[in-house]
Subunit: 504 residues, 2 copies
C-alpha cells in the first residue's frame, strides 16, 4: 500500500496523522471524493495493487459511490476507509451522522466496522487481502477506535504474488473447452480480466489459429492491451440489436475472465442476455480466476502452435498514417488524429461515449497501448481514472478521451493532475450535450418537447479550456483537424497535464 487518495475531515484526523508515520505512503488530495474513488480504480487497473481511499463520514463517502460502482464492475482492488463519529457521540445523532453501512454495502464486496482499537491494524490487513480478490473493501473506522489505536502500526503486507491473487482455473473447464473447440464450427472465446492482458491475448490467438474460433471482448473492458504487435479482439457492440447479431449463430462461447454479456439497458422486446440461447456457453475462468493462465492451459491442451507470425511478425511499432478527409472535426477525424499520433505505450482512458465510438476501430493499428473503459456506466470516471493511472505509471503517457457532459461530473480531477504534475493529455470531445440521450430518445420514437430538449443540450456551451486553466492545467480549444494535430502533438511532447477541447 503506497498511495492514499483522500479528502478527509475531522473524524479521520488520527488516520491522517498516521499517513506521515508510515514511510513510503503518498497522500494525494482530491477536491471531490468522486475523484478519489475513480483514481483508486485507475491506479489499481494499472498497478494490479490496491490503492487506499480515505473519506469523511457518510456524505463524503456518498460522493465517491458512483465511481466505486465503476470500480466494482471493473473488479478493481480498493482499500476504502471511512471515518465515522466516535461511537459515544454517534448516539446523539450529530448533524453529519448517517447510516454508513447502508450506503457502503451496494459497492463494497467486503465491509466491516472496526470496533476494537487493538485490532484495527488487523482489520486493515484483512481488508487489503479482501480487496486483492478484486473488490472494494470498506473499513468503517469510528473516531474513538482510531484514537485508541494511535501509535500502533501493523505488520507490513507484502505485494501479492499474482496481480489479484486469482485462483487457478479448473482443469475440468479446460477439458470441456477443448472438446467444444475440437468439435469444429463457429466458436468464440469471450474475454475479460487478465484474458485481455498481452499474455492472455497471445494465448487466445494461438487457440484461434489452431481452431478458427473468434476472439471477442466485453464492450467496456476494465483493461485491454492492444495496437500494433498485439492480437486483435472484436469488441461486443453497445446496442443490444447489434450485440445479438455479433453473437448470433455461435455453436459455443467460452468465457474467460468475464461473465456472459447483458444488454446495457432493457428495451421491450429485446432480450437481456446477449448470448445466442442456442449457443453452448462454458466458463473457462470465472472473473475471479486468472483467465490468462486458463487460456495458456487451453492453448497447450489443444496443441496450439506458437502465436501467428510470432511476436516478431507483429513488432512493427510505427504509427498508422494520418488519413482524414478534410480539416473538419468529426468523431471520425478526431479518432484518426489520436490513433495516428498517440505515442508508444500510452494508456488510453476512453470515456468518449458517442463521440469516442470511432476511436476503438481507428486505433486497432495504433502503437501498442493499454485501453481502459468506463466499466459500470456511472459517468464521470474518465478524468479521475486517468489521473490514478498516471500515478501508477509515471513513465507512461496517459490520454483521456473524454465526452464533455460526462467529464463535467468530476472535472476537479484536473486540479490533482496539476498538483501532482501528471503526464495526462485530456482530450475533451465537446459536442455540447448528452448525445447518447438524444439517441435513446430517438430509439423510443418520441419527438422531444421543450422540457425534454432542455435536458439534453448544453446552452451555454461550457468552455473547457477556461475550466482547465482555472484548475492550473494548460487548456486550449481547437476548431479543426490541423489545430487538434498540432495541440495534441504539443501536449504529448511537453511534460505535465494538458487539456484540448475539441469542438465537434
Amino acid at each position: 500500500m503506497h498511495i492514499c487518495f483522500a479528502n478527509p475531515g475531522t473524524t479521520e484526523l488520527p488516520l491522517v496523522e498516521a499517513l506521515d508515520a508510515v514511510p513510503g505512503m503518498r497522500a494525494v488530495l482530491c477536491l471531490f471524493e468522486g475523484v478519489c474513488s475513480a483514481a483508486a480504480d485507475g491506479y489499481a487497473r494499472m498497478s494490479g495493487e490496491p490503492a487506499m481511499t480515505l473519506l469523511h463520514l457518510g456524505p463524503g463517502f456518498a460522493n465517491a459511490i458512483a465511481n466505486f460502482h465503476n470500480a466494482r464492475r471493473a473488479r478493481s482492488p480498493v482499500f476504502n476507509v471511512i471515518g465515522d463519529h466516535a461511537r459515544w457521540h454517534r448516539a446523539s445523532d450529530p448533524p453529519l451522522a448517517a447510516d454508513i453501512p447502508s450506503l457502503a454495502a451496494p459497492v463494497s464486496g467486503w465491509l466491516r466496522e472496526a470496533t476494537d482499537s487493538t485490532r484495527l491494524a488487523d482489520d486493515a490487513a484483512e481488508a487489503i487481502r479482501a480487496a486483492r480478490m478484486g473488490q472494494v473493501a470498506t473499513l468503517i473506522a469510528p473516531h474513538d477506535v482510531q484514537l485508541g489505536a494511535s501509535g500502533a502500526i501493523g505488520e507490513p503486507i507484502g505485494p501479492s504474488k499474482s496481480a489479484w491473487s486469482a485462483p487457478l482455473p479448473d482443469p475440468g473447464n479446460v477439458a470441456e473447452a477443448v472438446g467444444l473447440l475440437r468439435g469444429g464450427g463457429n466458436c468464440a472465446l469471450f474475454l475479460g480480466g487478465t484474458g485481455l492482458s498481452a499474455r492472455g491475448l497471445i494465448a487466445a490467438e494461438r487457440i484461434s489459429n489452431a481452431t478458427g474460433c473468434r476472439i471477442v471482448c466485453d464492450t467496456f473492458p476494465a483493461r485491454l492491451e492492444r495496437g500494433t504487435g498485439l492480437p486483435r479482439v472484436e469488441r461486443l457492440p453497445y446496442f443490444p440489436e447489434q450485440a445479438l447479431q455479433c453473437l448470433a449463430g455461435l455453436r459455443a462461447v467460452i468465457f474467460a475472465g468475464t461473465v456472459p454479456p447483458v444488454s446495457f439497458f432493457g428495451y421491450p422486446g429485446v432480450p437481456s442476455k446477449l448470448t445466442d440461447p442456442l449457443s453452448h456457453s462454458i466458463r473457462l475462468a470465472d472473473p475471479a480466476a486468472d483467465a490468462c493462465v486458463a487460456l495458456e492451459d487451453l492453448a497447450e491442451a489443444i496443441g496450439a502452435g506458437d502465436s501467428s507470425g510470432g511476436f516478431g511478425g507483429r513488432s512493427t511499432r510505427g504509427s498508422p498514417p494520418l488519413r482524414t478527409s478534410g480539416n473538419q472535426l468529426t468523431p471520425e477525424s478526431v479518432a484518426a488524429v489520436i490513433a495516428s499520433l498517440q505515442p508508444e505505450d500510452a494508456i488510453v482512458m476512453d470515456e468518449g461515449l458517442t463521440a469516442g465510438l470511432p476511436y476503438f476501430e481507428a486505433s486497432q493499428s495504433a502503437r501498442p497501448h493499454t485501453y481502459l473503459a468506463l466499466t459500470g456506466g456511472a459517468i464521470g470516471q474518465g478524468l479521475p481514472c486517468a489521473t490514478g493511472a498516471a500515478l501508477a505509471c509515471p513513465q507512461r503517457p496517459v490520454i483521456a478521451l473524454q465526452a464533455d457532459g460526462s467529464g463535467l461530473y468530476t472535472l476537479q480531477s484536473l486540479w490533482t493532475q496539476a498538483r501532482e504534475d501528471l503526464n495526462v493529455t485530456n482530450v475533451i470531445l465537446a459536442n455540447g450535450g448528452y448525445k447518447i440521450l438524444d439517441i435513446e430518445i430517438a430509439r423510443t420514437g418520441a419527438i422531444p418537447g421543450p422540457q425534454a430538449a432542455a435536458l439534453t443540450a448544453f446552452d451555454p456551451v461550457p468552455n473547457w479550456a477556461k475550466l482547465a486553466q482555472g484548475f492550473g492545467v494548460p487548456g486550449v480549444r481547437v476548431e479543426d483537424v490541423e489545430g487538434l494535430a498540432r495541440e495534441f502533438a504539443r501536449a504529448i511532447d511537453e511534460p505535465g497535464p494538458h487539456l484540448i477541447e475539441v469542438m465537434i
Copy 2:
C-alpha cells in the same frame, strides 16, 4: 409541483416525456446530481413547497446523496424520483444495476418502489404528501412501470395550506412553558424551523420582552429571517466549548421547531449534548410541528404585549455604514462589505465556513434578508442551494457566500445559474485550503507532517474567475476591499449571475 431538477438517463425517458405533458412543469438541467438535490432543498426552503428531482439509477442518485443529507437535516420537502431498470432486465444484473433502496434509505424519510403502473400516479401523490411533512420522499420507478403508465396523468395536488402541513402544537406544552417562564430567572427560547420566520421571531420577542428570556437559534438554521426591523437572535457557537458556555446556567430551555443541540463532532472529554444538564428542557413544538403558531400561542398565554417598539420602530431599512480598517481583504472586512452593500430582501446562502464566520455578526443590522445555512455539514451545498432559492424567488437577489474548498464540490451549479439567467451573486471566499481542517488539526495538538499538510492546502490555487467564465458566468478576482465593494455593487446592479473571487 412546478419544477423538476433533473439529470436523467435512458431509464427515465418515459418520465422525461411526461414533463412535457403536464402544463406548468419546468425542467431544470443540472450538470451533476449533487446540484439537483441542493437546488431542490433551496427551492423548498424559499417556497415552502417541494421540488421534484429526477435522477438516473443508483449511481446517478448516489451523486445526489450528500446534498439530500443536508436537505434531510433542513427538514426540506423534496419529491425524489429515481428511475430503475425494468424489473425483467434488472434480474440479469446489467452494468448500471445497484441496490437503490440500500443507497436511498439513509436520506429518505419516505421510500417506495413502484410496482404497478396503474398506481404510479397515486404513488407519486402519496410521495408528495409525505415530502410535505418536511422530508425527502423517494419513489423508485422501474422502467417497465413507467412505460405501463405512459399517458396516464394523476389528479393534480393543490398547494398545502401551511408551508409544511405542520401539525398544531400541543396545548400542554404551551402551559408547561408558561409555568417555566413565569418562574423567572435565566431562561431561553431555542428556535428552529418556522420559529425563525418573521412571525415566529416577533412572537419570540414578545415573550422575551415579557419574561426576560433569551432567544437562541441553531448554529446552522435552514432558514432565518433577520436584519434591520427584525428581532435579533443569538446563534449557538460552532465549537462545543463555546456552545456549552453559551447555554451554561440556564434554568430552562424551551425548544420550538428544533431539537436539543448536539456538538458537530465528538471530542474526548467534551459532552455530545450542549444543553446544560441542570437546565429544565421542554419541547414547545417538535421540528415537525408549526413552531410559529406555538410561539404565538405561548405569547398570548403569557400575556405578552406587542412586539418591542412595534414593527414601525424597526422599520429603518437603511444600510449600515461601511466601516473597514484599511483596504486589506480579511474575513472581517469582507463581511463588512457584504453586510453594508447587500440589497433589501436579499437571500443569503452562507457556506462561508471559517472565512464566513464574521458575516453573521456583521449582518445583524443589514437590510432585512433571509439567511440560509449549511444544515447537515455535507459541504458543497451553497452554490446549488442558492441556485434553487433563486428559482423559487425570481424577484429577490440571491447572494452565495461560499468557501472555496466547499464550493469546488458542486461548481457545476454555475452553469445552471447561467442557463436560467438567475440573479445570484456568488462570493467565493478564497483562502486556498481547507482551513477548518487546519484548525481541527491544531485542536488535536498535532503538528502536521508533509502528507497531512498536503491534504489541507491548495497548491496550485484554483482560479475561480476562470472557472466561472468556463460555465458562462462573468467572473472576476478581487484583491482589496475597494475592488470587492466595486464588483459586489456591480454584480448586484446587473441582472443574471456573477462570481467574485475574494482573495483573502
